[in-house]
């Protein structure tokens, strides 16, 4: 247990490599937690099927229309149970069909290969992931916080009846929001496919971490989800160098600390 004594500080180039890898993982966390934050912030649904939809893709809008819209007005727990149940069913169906071993999925030809940066070999595909994720994250933040459409959305969450009275189709807008949120999850899933194993369970392995990221950033805070996604990717990456045994728990330790100090999360708007 007392492996701490064995910790050696790696040389600087090694550290750069690890930081970069942390950023790549952070990109996935940011995109997934962003989708969750959009759905929670605007629809008040704790979307536990987010992981399954990361696997499944944008099939989510149909689910919103059929099932999820019936629980918007109820306590969060109903939404949570519903989406968790959906996740189990979706994963079960896929496992039945494809088995849990997963399927190979290769990197697109144009993005294979990599660059030797001197301190590490950076696969092109991973560099692309960072750039793409940064663009999507910024775009989402911009749409919701800085455009007229975003203003409608935020208004519709505050007071749907009033917004509807102005002639805006609120139910459709909400369906599209859910679709957009899970679309982000699906996109992250597609980007992750060549790196990780593509399997029915790929989402449940990530969902708990992503929820922790969202809680740390502040439930519903778009900016919080993006920043904490990237930051936690980096912190997790560093844990893997200094004390790898703890790398799967580091994020949760941080979550506990953040919740003790700022119960609403780093960027939350109050409990």
């Amino acid at each position: 247990m007392l492996d701490w004594v064995n910790i050696a500080v790696p040389p600087a180039p090694a550290l750069f490599g690890q930081l970069l890898i942390g950023l790549i993982n952070g990109s996935f966390y940011a995109m997934l937690s962003l989708g969750l934050a959009v759905i929670f912030g605007l629809l008040n649904i704790i979307n536990f099927s987010h992981g399954a939809l990361y696997m499944l893709g944008a099939f989510g809008m149909a689910l919103e229309r059929l099932l999820i819209r019936h629980v918007y007005k109820l306590d969060h727990l109903y939404g949570l149970l519903l989406t968790f149940g959906m996740a189990l069913i979706i994963e079960g169906l896929f496992r039945q069909q494809y088995g849990s071993a997963g399927q190979p999925y290769s990197i697109p030809e144009a993005l294979s290969g990599g660059q030797n940066l001197g301190f590490m070999f950076l696969p092109n595909y991973r560099a692309w992931v960072i750039v793409a994720s940064a663009i999507f994250c910024f775009g989402t933040w911009f749409i919701i916080e800085r455009t007229r459409l975003g203003a409608y959305l935020r208004a519709a969450t505050e007071n749907p009846a009033l917004v509807q009275a102005f002639g805006i189709n609120v139910p459709r807008m909400i369906t599209l929001t859910y679709g957009f949120g899970v679309g982000l999850a699906a996109l992250a899933g597609v980007m992750a496919a060549p790196i990780y194993q593509v399997s029915p369970l790929m989402g449940s392995n990530l969902i708990i971490v992503v929820f922790a990221v969202v809680v740390i950033g502040g439930m519903g805070s778009i900016l919080g989800a993006i920043i904490s996604g990237f930051a936690l990717g980096v912190i997790e990456g560093l844990t893997k160098v200094f004390y790898p045994e703890a790398s799967s728990t580091a994020i949760f330790v941080i979550m506990v600390i953040v919740l003790l100090v700022k119960p609403a999360g780093l960027f939350g708007r109050g409990v």
């Binding site: 690890q18 536990f48 071993a101 997963g102 991973r126 399997s199 790929m202 790898p244 728990t249």
Partner: protein, 405 residues
Amino acid sequence: MKLRSLISAASVAVLLGAASSPAAHADGKTVKIGVLNDMSSVYSYLGGMGSVAAAQMAVKDFGGKVLGKPIEIVYADHQNKPDVGVAIASKWFDEDGVDAILDLPTSSVAIAVQKVAQDRGKVDIISNGGSSELTNKFCSPTGVHWTYDTYQLAHVIGGAVVKQGGKTWFFITADYAFGHQLQDDTAAVVKAAGGTVVGSVNVPLNNADFSSFLLQAQQSKAQIIGLANAGGDTVNSIKQASEFGIVQGGQRLAGLLVFIADVDALGLKTAQGLLLSESYYWDQNDQTRAFAKKFEAAYNGKVPTSGQAGVYTAVMHYLKAMQAAKSEDGAKVVAQMRAMPINDFMTRNGKLRIDGRVIRDVYLFQVKKPEESKYPYDYYKQLAMIPGDQAFRPLSESECPLVKK
């Protein structure tokens, strides 16, 4: 408010994830065999429901009855957690009248469950579990280690790699009983052959991203990166190693435990050239092919892993021994299993040793290049056959208290 919901959410999730085992009745009128393994996570495709299907096939092929009683298969998911495994095993033995527990991947769970079985004089037969300590320090008079173990993997694969010139090693190790044992067993082989271990990193089980660990391995400049892990962890590490140009950089990967389902998930393009050691490959002869065909028909067209083939043959041998011993008593049945030679599609004149280790010939395979593969699942070429008495730990080195010296 939101925070409180989230906390209740977390507890709900924990409750929903808890184990559930199928209902069963302890009436002494049936012989019950429990298949206990990972059904939902990183190892589920190596055993999982496929092992249940294999056990059911064996019961059917045996005739459905032993000592005049019908045979029933029950199964549960131990979630790779020793506490969950122990709880299920105790309930099965104490309340549900289960006679034997099979499969038991995840060595930490296997070690714990073997103790539960030993305390009750019940039988456990490990097929997908790997730690060689199961028949060494933790050996049990009613415990059987059927298919493979870390000592064999270390000697067959580690030995072959060192012989090809791989002298310096860095290990990426799954951080629990199995991974540590596999690393220790392999390191011993490497050192005995004059090689050195330049470093290692312990990775939590079921890890999605290995890039950080691969980078450490790359910077160690070791010739060989030994993967002392299994299942989804092995697949992810090999896949990501190819992405980071590890092999192009002159280092070689040694997957110490690779199953055919892993090769299938990797694809031949990524997996080609890997060495692996198994006791069963479907395309070895008419008998192995016949079993694979039957299994594929019973289980969604999937090719059987050696672990699943092991569950089938283990159930068969167990039932034959029970029939011959005319008793359901664990100690008597295992004594009979020792007395009878093991002969089936994957075993020629195998024997069950006093320490619980099954001794049979094992094989060294290499994964084919994509252009060498002619039909579905045509994945391996056989490089060598290693006689059982050379592949497994000799009794002279055993620390098992059952071995008299």
